[in-house]
């Protein structure tokens, strides 16, 4: 995993693009260490961070690196769900943003020649994009023509959100309202995939109920699963002990330093607060 420079850095917004209901925030970061897939940054607008709904935001907000362009642009996929994300969605090219990162523990490669299934829900698809990039690059570097490309399964609430699927290549989409792709839950697509061939490693990020379904599904079939969790965070670097989820067998894990990517086997079940905005 990449270490974060010690100290938040004042970066410049390169631009912000609409992606249906989401925004793709592109931040110019030529000197930042390249993040590993699944790592995140704590972001805050340099100006006007505060004074929104309920006199918030006050603390920085966590966002998964969605993509990095070598030579220095990092992208983040944002959904406006509250005062922090709203302020970030307002940023325009040239404005300044504080960034601390890359932080946390990301995904690790599938073992035993298992094929990777990347399962995303809503804005939780973000870390899967950079993970797909790395998996595809790895496969082509190794020229392992035998290795299957990762399977991409994405679930969304509606058409506006399903537009986010454009962030990944060759995605199969499910929507709750049937407006795009499979009418139903993305976990139904996962079940079908696992039935077809259980020799897989599952990588999932999305709302808590989706993650819990993935955990249960994989546990039942003894399929390894890595879950990219979310949690309310104050610091992102292990200082506040605020971002915990219960660990199987007792005690707690800090999502920011023990995760955000956590082996599903470490969890008894996925905490209701540990998912992405639904």
């Amino acid at each position: 995993m990449a270490l974060a420079p010690f100290g938040r850095r004042l970066l410049t917004v390169a631009g912000i693009d609409e992606l249906g209901a989401y925004r793709l925030l592109r931040v110019s970061d030529p000197d930042g260490p390249p993040p590993a897939p699944g790592q995140f940054a704590m972001l805050a607008a340099a100006a006007g961070w505060g004074g929104g709904q309920d006199e918030r935001p006050h603390l920085p907000r966590a966002f998964s690196y969605a993509r990095v362009v070598p030579g220095g642009e990092a992208s983040f996929l944002l959904e406006d769900v509250g005062p922090g994300t709203r302020r970030l969605c307002e940023l325009r090219g040239g404005e300044r943003i504080w960034s601390l990162g890359p932080l946390g523990v990301g995904f690790s490669a599938p073992a035993d020649g298992r094929r990777a299934i990347l399962l995303g829900g809503g804005v939780g698809i973000a870390p899967l994009a950079i993970w797909q990039d790395v998996l595809l690059a790895g496969a082509s570097a190794r020229r392992t023509s035998g290795a299957e490309p990762p399977v991409i399964l994405l679930g969304f609430r509606d058409r506006a959100r399903a537009a986010g699927a454009a962030l990944l290549a060759d995605a199969r989409v499910a929507t709750d309202d049937g407006s795009v792709g499979h009418h139903g839950l993305v976990t139904e697509l996962l079940t079908a995939e696992l039935v077809r061939d259980p020799h897989a490693s599952v990588y999932a990020c999305g709302p808590a109920p989706m993650l819990e379904a993935v955990r249960a599904l994989c546990a039942e079939r003894a399929i390894p699963a890595q879950l990219a969790l979310e949690s309310g965070m104050a610091c992102g670097f292990g200082a506040c002990f605020g971002c915990v989820v219960p660990r199987r067998g007792g005690g707690y894990l800090r999502v920011c330093v023990d995760g955000p990517v956590i082996d599903a086997a470490e969890l008894q079940c996925v905490d209701e607060h540990a998912g992405a905005p639904a």
């Binding site: 965070m233 610091c235 670097f237 200082a239 506040c240 002990f241 707690y252 607060h273």
Partner: protein
């Protein structure tokens, strides 16, 4: 501008507030070299250590408040022996390399428990001073043991002999008369007092998150209530530090909502010898260094 404090010589007057900077986690996140090179604090205060290990409170543990933060962490720690055996050597190896003294913060529910904590710390040369957190709720009254001056004086008097290291009593702000509490701590032999700890606070679940439907809303924090910190409490911290400064002669560690050198200077002007930075480190992990630089 080296600062003398209870026999220690600190490089500057800025330290961290207990429980707001995990040195070992920071080392993993930023690397040991960078952490040493830019260590933000002139002394490092551990999070609160208790006799028995604690897992802490169930989540959610955080609620963002207007210009502040409510936390209900619940003092997770490995317990005294786990701390001494595992964390202390690791922490002091980092601190030793940058010549930053360690202040260990401890809490116990009665004088006997506190005495044990102090005695075991006394044996360890890595520990330069001890901060005693008296915001522990009394099991009978539910109030902080530090909220009543007479009770506080008797507890501190009872444990004072357990250590010759400098003893800093970290007062609770949830009291009618913090100056009387500080005075009681001084009378009982404390070498310094520190304040303010968080203000007792609460949040209900926001609408749409198991919150306000037809039935009564439930508390958001897993621990029920929590403590308010950050900018929001700065004016309260300044008033309490000024009141304490008017009533004791021992040095004061002032804290509460410090975000900038100007805020630190206010606390110093109000009578503090050192200033601790807590919540602001969450927003800016090197805030301590920025503030110390700004004081020059």
């Amino acid at each position: 501008m080296s600062v003398p404090f209870c026999g220690l010589e600190l490089a500057h007057p800025i330290i961290n507030a207990s429980g707001t900077f995990d040195l070992l986690a920071a080392r993993s996140a930023f690397g040991e070299e960078a952490l040493r090179a830019g260590f933000p604090f002139a002394a490092f205060v551990s999070k609160t250590i208790t006799l028995q290990a604690r897992a802490g409170n169930p989540p959610p543990r955080l609620f963002e408040a207007p210009a502040g933060l409510i936390n209900s962490i619940g003092l997770p720690n490995k317990g005294l022996e786990g701390y001494l055996a595992e964390d202390l050597p690791a922490i002091s190896s980092v601190l030793g390399a940058c010549a930053v003294p360690l202040i260990t913060n401890v809490m116990g529910s009665d004088a006997a428990e506190i005495a044990t904590l102090l005695e075991r710390c006394e044996e360890r040369t890595e520990i330069a001073a001890i901060e005693l957190n008296v915001s522990c709720p009394n099991v009978k009254t539910g109030l902080d043991i530090g909220s009543d001056p007479a009770a506080l004086e008797s507890v501190v008097r009872g444990v004072r002999r357990a250590t010759r290291k400098p003893l800093i009593v970290k007062l609770t702000p949830n009291t009618a008369d913090v100056a009387a509490c500080a005075h009681a701590a001084e009378a009982a032999g404390a070498d310094a007092v520190s304040l303010i700890n968080t203000l007792r606070a609460m949040a209900l679940a926001p609408p749409g998150r198991g919150g306000q439907g037809r039935t009564a809303a439930r508390p958001w924090l897993g621990g029920g209530t929590g403590g308010l910190s950050g900018a929001a409490i700065r004016p309260v911290a300044l008033a309490q530090v000024a009141a304490v400064a008017a009533s004791v002669a021992i040095p004061i560690v002032g804290m509460g909502g410090v975000q900038s050198a100007a805020h630190a200077r206010d606390l110093l002007n109000a009578g503090a010898t050192l200033v601790a930075v807590g919540t602001e480190s969450f927003r800016d992990p090197t805030a301590g260094a920025r503030i110390a630089r700004g004081l020059c």
